[in-house]
């Protein structure tokens, strides 16, 4: 469609007082031949909005609004496709932070307008990806989390297929005698209600239950997965839209708890065995089958221990308190000892802790375990009692180890891969947890980046983000329950309901052609100009979400509904063949080329700063709101993610005569805050390589700097700008300027 541009420059909030508005209009009219350039003293007011709306009615299809930050007044300046809108930030990034009626301020404003116009000339409003979408939800795992996800999704009106590898539903919950209190006054044990739950699932007409079944493979992408399930030797295929993985946990291998007597003494058991006995009806000593009159519990058995499980399994304190009541319930005269490190009974569970403290015969002690032995048919537990400040020893009929849980995604042993080095040498490398090839098989995804969800520490395929616990590295696949993190039944059920919502939301967003979190408004998706692809595999390897598959010739095969629109693939592509309608290598290159670079003798160096649009860019807005001034020679370009920065932009900038390049993104490393996981890290790696190249070209590597910045560091950002400008002044102008 032919572009018909309208440029609207707001004079409000001091813009008209600080800038020469006629000269700004001149940039649009003379340099970009825009016929329709209007100024208005209050563009976001009713009259201004009407002005733009009328032009759109009259055929304007590309609107450039030079006013406040694109983050402000989004409700006023919002236009449906096919109208494309570009915002130029003259307020927060220009007049609020630079002196009025000043040459540099004016030059900055004009450059921003040029950049905005250059972008608007090339960018188009995206048309959503459309495909026939299947909205069935697949739930893998039929324990309490899986059953809950299935029911919750079904009750919201969606068809569900629930696949469980055991012959019956219920998972670990079915192996519990009782559950600890979930209802006020949080004092009495409760039935698990698992049978009713199973009936509910099996009786729900929207849920297809496949037990004794395993996933053979999952092909495709959100909204269009093809799933093969193997059941009784036969394969069934299903079409589903999104997936909840609720494959649960396994108890920590008690064989590793010999130091606490397990395996050495018959009357040392785990909390899981204790449940089994209680469920069967009688708590007895394995050694002689006699009913127990004294029981000790050791908390954190093989937990919070770097030699075993470094983490806490979250529910063992409550579980042992519950099991203590099994014992006193069976024999009111029984003695129970619970030896703990920290009693972890959060929230209202504290009431149950108090209830058990009141129970005659139950003795709780914060203690360090010193020795376990067996003598005269009894197990002797020696501990240092922290409260009493002395060593104590008890001899009991039975010792229960409160052992922890391991995610079913955690592999038995770290998987390895054999690689051949450039010298032809074979080398075995361990696979990292954040790879799709690390976790134990459950989903068998036919993805270029591996068959399973990448995991965080300890094998949990958890979200990395505090504020987005359902963030996932594989679009449309959400983990819930103990596979994701240690949690009890109540928490698993909440978790599973949330995961069901996310699975539903994914198919609905996908059906509308919109991305899922975090860019949920985004309807763009990448298109590839395959004629120029060199099969370098960078896009297929670097996408943090496994969007691309590959054919046997290593051509990338995009799956748009897996795409999260971060454009990291666009940043990775040396051939610049990956583009979005409103964000491409060419569009940003055009913006760079639009910057006016003064002659070296003017002594006005120019720096381009690529800013992550979620954190660094808003931080710069906030510097504006706080009127914190900084060097006016810097030109900011917001990017979807620092990982989307293509190194050709660096080359374009340098050949254009730009003196320095700043890239400011989110934190990388273990505690990364990059919402596209790898973007910030990839940018840093790529720039490291660029810096090496610069050195080879006898250009100062300091001309390029990558910085990490949190959104709240808006006072630090102007300092980064100023310090970088000092560096550029010190090393002098870019020698390419004169060529």
């Amino acid at each position: 469609m032919a572009k018909k541009l309208g440029v609207y420059i707001c004079g409000g909030c001091g813009i008209a007082d600080a800038l020469d508005m006629d000269k700004l209009c001149g940039v649009a009219a003379k340099e970009f031949k825009v016929e329709n350039c209007k100024t208005h003293p209050f563009l976001c007011g009713a009259e201004g909005a009407k002005l733009i709306a009328q032009d759109i009615k009259d055929g304007t299809n590309t609107v450039v609004i030079a006013a406040c930050s694109p983050r402000a007044k989004m409700d006023v300046f919002s236009y449906d496709a096919p109208v494309y809108m570009e915002r130029v930030n003259l307020r927060e990034h220009v007049i609020w932070v630079h002196p009025p009626k000043d040459e540099d301020t004016q030059m900055l404003a004009e450059d921003y307008l040029r950049m905005g116009l250059a972008k608007a000339q090339k960018a188009e409003a995206p048309e959503p990806f459309s495909e026939t979408i299947d909205k069935t939800i697949l739930v893998v795992g039929g324990g309490i989390a899986g059953m809950t996800s299935a029911l919750e999704a079904a009750e919201a009106g969606y068809n569900v297929c629930l696949v469980e590898k055991e012959l019956a539903l219920g998972g670990w919950m079915a192996k519990l005698h009782k559950q600890y209190p979930k209802h006020p006054p949080y004092r009495e044990l409760e039935d698990t209600g698992v049978d009713a739950k199973i009936k509910q699932v099996e009786g729900n007409p929207k849920i297809k239950v496949l037990t004794g079944a395993e996933i053979e493979k999952i092909e495709g992408a959100p909204g269009m997965y093809n799933v093969s399930v193997k059941q009784k030797g036969a394969s069934t295929s299903l079409k589903v839209g999104s997936i909840v993985q609720a494959t649960g946990f396994k108890p920590y291998d008690p064989g590793k708890l010999e130091y606490l007597g397990y395996g050495k003494y018959k009357d040392v058991i785990t909390n899981v065995q204790m449940e089994e006995m209680a469920q069967k009806g009688k708590i007895t000593r394995p050694s002689d089958g006699k009913e127990v009159t004294s029981v000790a519990f050791i908390q954190c058995a093989g937990q919070r221990d770097p030699a075993h499980l470094p983490y806490c399994s979250a529910f063992c304190c409550m579980a042992s308190l519950k099991q203590a009541l099994y014992v006193t319930g069976q024999n009111p005269d029984a003695q129970v000892y619970i030896f703990y490190k920290d009693m972890r009974t959060p929230g209202q569970y504290e009431d149950f802790y108090k209830r058990v403290q009141e129970e005659p015969g139950v003795f709780l002690a914060k203690s360090d375990v010193k020795n376990i032995s067996e003598e005269g048919g009894k197990v002797t537990v020696e501990v240092y009692d922290v409260l009493l400040g002395e060593d104590i020893a008890v001899s009991v009929d039975l010792l229960v180890l409160a052992a922890g849980i391991v995610s079913n995604s955690m592999p038995e042993a770290t998987p390895t891969v054999e690689m051949v080095t450039a010298e032809g040498e074979k080398r075995v490398t361990e696979i990292a947890p954040d790879s799709g090839r690390y976790a134990t098989s459950a989903l068998h995804l036919q993805y270029r980046q591996g068959p399973e969800l990448p995991t965080l520490k300890y094998g949990f395929p958890d979200s990395h983000f505090i504020c987005f616990p359902y963030e996932t590295r594989r679009t449309g696949i959400y983990a819930a329950g103990c596979v994701r993190q240690p949690e009890d039944i109540a928490a698993s059920m909440d978790d599973a309901a949330g995961a069901a919502l996310k699975a539903i939301q994914c198919v609905e967003q996908t059906a509308r052609g919109q991305a899922v979190h975090p860019r949920t408004w985004d309807r763009s998706y990448p298109s590839l100009f395959m004629q120029r692809c060199t099969q370098c595999k960078r896009c297929t390897e670097e996408c943090p979400f496994g969007m691309y598959n590959e054919d046997d010739k290593f051509n990338p095969l995009p799956n748009p509904t897996r795409c999260r629109r971060c454009a990291i693939c666009m940043g990775s592509c040396p051939e610049r063949i990956i583009s979005f309608k409103d964000y491409s290598v060419d569009i940003i290159s055009s913006m760079l080329k639009a910057i006016e670079v003064p002659e070296p003798d003017e002594e006005k160096p120019r720096v381009v700063a690529f800013l992550c649009e979620n954190d660094a860019y808003p931080a710069l807005d906030m510097a504006g709101i706080n009127r914190i001034s900084y060097n006016p020679w810097i030109r900011v370009i917001p990017v979807r993610c620092l990982g989307s920065v293509n190194i050709v932009w660096i080359a374009d900038s340098l050949s254009k005569g730009i003196d320095g390049i700043l890239m400011i993104g989110c934190k990388r490393g273990d505690d990364y805050t990059c919402h596209f996981v790898k973007g910030s890290e990839l940018a840093n790696t790529r720039m490291g390589k660029v810096q090496e190249t610069l050195q080879r070209l006898v250009l100062e590597s300091e001309r390029i700097r990558v910085e990490e910045l949190s959104i709240s560091e808006f006072r630090k950002l102007p300092q980064i700008f100023d310090e970088f400008m000092e560096t550029i002044k010190r090393i002098g102008p870019n020698p390419y300027k004169e060529m």
Binding site: G12, P41, G45, A72, K73, M74, E155, A156, H183, P184, P185, Y311, C312, A314, D342, M343, R344, T345, P346, G347, Q348, E350, K354, K366, L387, G389, F460, D462, H464, F465, I466, C467, P469, Y470, Q485, P486, E487, D494, A497, G498, A500, L501, K502, I504, Q505, T520, W521, N614, P618, D621, I625, K667, D671, T673, H675, S710, I711, S712, E713, F714
Partner: protein
């Protein structure tokens, strides 16, 4: 009181509370495709998390996620946000609720561009409640540069009104209307998410710990503001009595929590909160001595890693013992903590320059309950949802940020199911 146009959305969802849980519920439901009305009592969204400096255990900034959420709201036509809005009445039943919402006048309309001219000319100051009164704002103010909506508000309690009207003259955009009055908004909605959040336990009730009496005894929520870059000290942790950096600081865990005389339950997040805050102190001045007095450290799940990490920081001491009493030296304003170190089995008497009380979480539903069949426990937490009304966040039980978000997501689903159920049942 005037009425504004009423809303008729029998398939819509009302979310009460614009903090983390409520905001999440609203966004998640809207992204499924439902129409959502989000009402928030204060002038801005974000609730308690907007006042938090960093989240545990990643030590990342809350506004990073809030920025995404605000953008999701701004770009989603299915969400309508009402700030300064309070529920006055709810009647009806699942699928057919009649809700009356009172809209407190902001005195600033949608024309506001957040240019700050009104605040520049405003002659009146008020204690800044966003910063727990540690600094002041003008009567016309924006609570944070990161605020959403990015729109000023005028505090009617201190505004001099039409006699002054300096702001009216200063505003070029007719954004200020000092004659604005409270309005009633009537809406019909299908289901409701209740996410009214929590407030810190009133630390002045802890007589023995000196809060309110001694300026250098602060609470954990105040500590967040002291450490925040948009806080009263621009992020420098300075003690209130003299504005000096502290060389020693104590954290008192379970201040009013796990205590029959105050909050019998555990507030779930305070252990992690204090471990986190000890890193704030250490990052600013590594030589400052930090002591954490605790009963049990409750770092559940993989949060245990963070506990281990803090224990390794030099100069952070964990003392197992309940603090019995805090006294102030009137000359230095330093504080003496009396506690029993149960690990060493001896009485402790130790002086600190500042003390942070890890006060607990009180659900808003302890005081204000909405009409309907929700079941509450003895503490005022919601123990069971009612058909059509679903609770989320800290009104269900003390919860950290992740749990609150999960909860909000769950509540969105419940509210959707309620609407679907009605649809299928006719």
């Amino acid at each position: 009181m005037g009425n504004i146009e009423s809303i008729n959305a029998p398939n819509g969802i009302l979310v009460i509370g614009g903090g983390m849980s409520g905001m999440t519920a609203a966004i998640e439901a809207a992204e499924v495709g439902y129409e959502v009305f989000l009402i928030e009592e204060s002038p801005y969204l974000g609730g308690r998390v907007a006042k938090v400096n960093k989240y545990f255990p990643k030590l990342c900034a809350p506004y990073c996620g809030l920025e995404i959420n605000f953008r999701r709201i701004k770009t989603n036509p299915r969400i309508k946000v009402f700030t300064l809005a309070q529920v006055e009445n709810i009647s009806g039943k699942e699928g057919d609720y009649d809700v009356t919402v009172k809209l407190t006048p902001r005195l600033v309309n949608d024309n506001c561009t957040a240019c700050n001219k009104c605040a520049e000319v405003c002659p009146v100051e008020r204690p800044n409640d966003f910063n727990f009164g540690l600094d002041k704002t003008k009567a016309a103010y924006l609570n944070s540069p990161m605020a959403f909506p990015l729109k000023y508000v005028i505090d009617t309690k201190v505004c001099l009104g039409a006699e002054c009207a300096k702001c009216v003259a200063a505003c070029q955009y007719q954004a200020i209307d000092l004659g604005m009055t409270a309005q009633s908004l009537h809406m019909k909605v299908g289901s409701i998410v209740l996410a009214t959040g929590w407030k810190p336990y009133d630390a002045t009730k802890l007589d023995n710990l000196g809060y309110g009496k001694y300026p250098n005894v602060i609470t954990n929520v105040i500590m967040e503001r002291l450490a925040a870059v948009d806080g009263p000290t621009q992020g420098k942790i300075l003690r209130p009595s003299d504005g000096k950096e502290v060389k020693s600081i104590a954290f008192v865990q379970c201040a009013g929590s796990r205590d029959q005389n105050h909050l019998p339950y555990c507030s779930g997040v305070c252990c992690m909160g204090s471990l986190k805050q000890s890193t704030y102190v250490k990052d600013q001045s590594p030589e400052t001595k930090v002591s954490i007095f605790y009963i049990d450290i409750r770092a559940l799940g993989i949060l245990e890693d963070f506990f281990q990490r803090v224990q390794k920081i030099e100069g952070v001491t964990l003392v197992r013992g309940k603090v019995a009493k805090i006294e102030e030296d009137p000359a230095t304003k330093n504080l003496t903590i009396h506690a029993e170190d149960t690990a060493a089995g001896e009485k402790i008497k130790e002086s600190f320059e500042m003390v942070v009380l890890a006060t607990g979480i009180v659900p808003m539903t302890a005081e204000v309950k909405i009409p309907g069949n929700l079941v509450y426990d003895n503490y005022g937490f919601v123990a069971a949802d009612a058909p059509g009304v679903y609770a989320a966040g800290c009104i269900r039980r003390p919860a950290d940020v992740s749990t609150s978000v999960q909860d909000g997501t769950r509540a969105a689903l419940k509210a959707i199911q309620s609407i679907v159920r009605r649809g299928t049942n006719g």
